[in-house]
């Protein structure tokens, strides 16, 4: 066996086996909290609301689900892709982790060594993330009762978490890609002026399509470039 075959046999094949198995287990696990609420607490969601909520979410998540792995695969590698997209925080955490691991180990992109280094680095980051999340939530627990139900001003503030997020996202757009924001934001304001309480399942899918079309035109005319994107 030459070293490529060894790598294929000892790395690619077992990683694919474990990767596939764990991802499908994770998909099954996604249903558990909802099923628990249904079976043990008798909480039944209105099916139409769930479906419409999912239409709103899927209309942008499906695009990202396909494109993000393709864009980040060269950095994350084979094993790193399985892990990174299972735990999330890909761009802000796993990509820098993989890059740092390559630097520390001194490997070249695209080699078998780089693949192993990236897998190890990202596996380490996964274990670190889960450790922080477990310890952190245990440390937070005693304080949580105090946040909940502690005065009207705090209640008002808590209700505004979404608008605050959108303001913050607006700030990020302005810094990074102001041109891409023009069409979706302009359209959004026009629609909101006309009717400000439409269900998202009706508004979001066409908005996503129009935003992509506008972006395509801008990209073709070289008004926007691929660098520095979210």
């Amino acid at each position: 066996m030459n070293s490529n075959e060894v790598f294929q046999d000892r790395f690619i094949v077992p990683v694919q086996k474990t990767g596939r198995l764990t991802i499908f287990l994770a998909i099954i696990c996604l249903f558990i909290p909802g099923l628990y609420l249904y079976i043990f607490q008798g909480l039944i969601p209105p099916v139409t609301a769930v479906i419409r909520g999912l239409i709103a979410v899927w209309s942008f998540m499906a695009v990202m689900a396909v494109l993000e792995p393709i864009v980040y695969y060269p950095i994350l590698g084979f094993g790193g892709t399985y892990m990174s997209f299972l735990v999330g925080n890909v761009l802000n955490l796993r990509v820098p982790v993989s890059a740092t691991a390559q630097q520390v180990a001194g490997t070249k992109e695209g080699t078998s060594e780089a693949e192993i280094v990236s897998t190890l680095g990202i596996a380490g980051s996964l274990i670190a993330s889960e450790f922080v999340m477990i310890v952190g939530v245990l440390a937070l627990l005693p304080f949580i009762g105090r946040i909940q139900g502690s005065g009207m001003a705090i209640e008002v503030a808590l209700d505004q978490v979404l608008p605050a997020l959108f303001g913050a996202l607006g700030g990020i757009f302005l810094f990074r890609v102001p041109k891409l924001g023009i069409v979706p934001l302009g359209l959004g304001i026009l629609i909101a002026l006309f009717k400000a309480d439409l269900p998202y399942s009706i508004v979001i899918p066409p908005m996503v399509i129009l935003s992509i079309i506008a972006a395509r035109i801008m990209y073709k005319r070289k008004w926007v470039k691929g660098e520095g994107m979210v």
Partner: protein, 240 residues
């Protein structure tokens, strides 16, 4: 309202939310073992491999603490275990909040608010969970053939793929950003607060070269927007 939070924080909910964390840890440990063995088989020094593993741990520690701040933003309305699971697996504060907002919206509510009930909560749980199912399906099925897919989708033009990803996301939030602008009141105060907060943080990061702040910027800006809404209510009776 207190009632559904008792369910959201119940022991059973903790168990239901913990299973997937076990899967994540199993995957990470199993791939570590495979990578170490394969590395030895192709003659990599053990030292080099352990250095890579260690650098992964240290690089991830601080940004992971930043994720906890995002967790704190979700807990008041969704209890502890579910947001904890969501942010530990395929999570980002942005996605979770948008998905929760979309579900609440279909239940006729304005955003992630205090008027949640058990039924709203379970709807949010289902939408937030199943909302990421495509992402997992794509990874589970297509990872081995990703290189070939790249050329087939968008002609392998990586720049366009990045632009398209961003455009899809902007398209999704365009209307949601516009709503508070048109409606005014507390939501508008929070929006402006979050916006200004992000501009200030962005300026500090870029001009002051404070890169560590990047991980914290979004959650801090959100907190700033929420605080602005709280202050506006307390002193000027806006919203409520």
């Amino acid at each position: 309202m207190d009632n559904y939070l008792a369910i959201a924080n119940s022991a059973g909910m903790w168990v239901a939310c913990s299973v997937i964390i076990v899967v994540v840890l199993f995957q990470a440990i199993r791939l570590t073992v495979i990578a170490l063995r394969a590395g030895m088989a192709i003659g990599m020094p053990k030292k080099q491999m352990l250095a890579a593993f260690r650098s992964g741990i240290t690089t991830a520690l601080v940004p992971s603490i930043a994720i906890l701040l995002g967790l704190a933003l979700l807990i008041p309305r969704l209890g502890v275990p579910f947001p904890w699971m969501r942010l530990s697996v395929i999570g980002s504060v942005t996605y979770e909040l948008i998905a929760a907002g979309a579900a609440a919206n279909e239940m006729g509510l304005e955003g992630v608010s205090g008027s949640f009930t058990g039924t709203v909560f379970t709807t949010v749980v289902w939408v937030m969970s199943l909302g990421v199912i495509f992402n997992l399906l794509v990874i589970g099925i297509f990872t081995p053939s990703i290189k070939r897919l790249k050329d087939r989708i968008a002609g392998g033009d990586e720049g366009w793929m990045r632009v398209m990803t961003a455009a899809a996301f902007f398209g999704a939030v365009g209307y949601m950003v516009a709503q508070p602008v048109v409606k005014g009141g507390a939501p508008l105060v929070a929006l402006i607060g979050g916006f200004i907060g992000m501009l200030i943080l962005g300026a500090i990061i870029q001009l002051g070269k404070q890169n560590w702040l990047k991980e914290w910027a979004l959650a801090l800006a959100i907190l700033g927007g929420m605080t602005a809404a709280g202050i506006a209510f307390h002193y000027f009776s806006i919203g409520g």
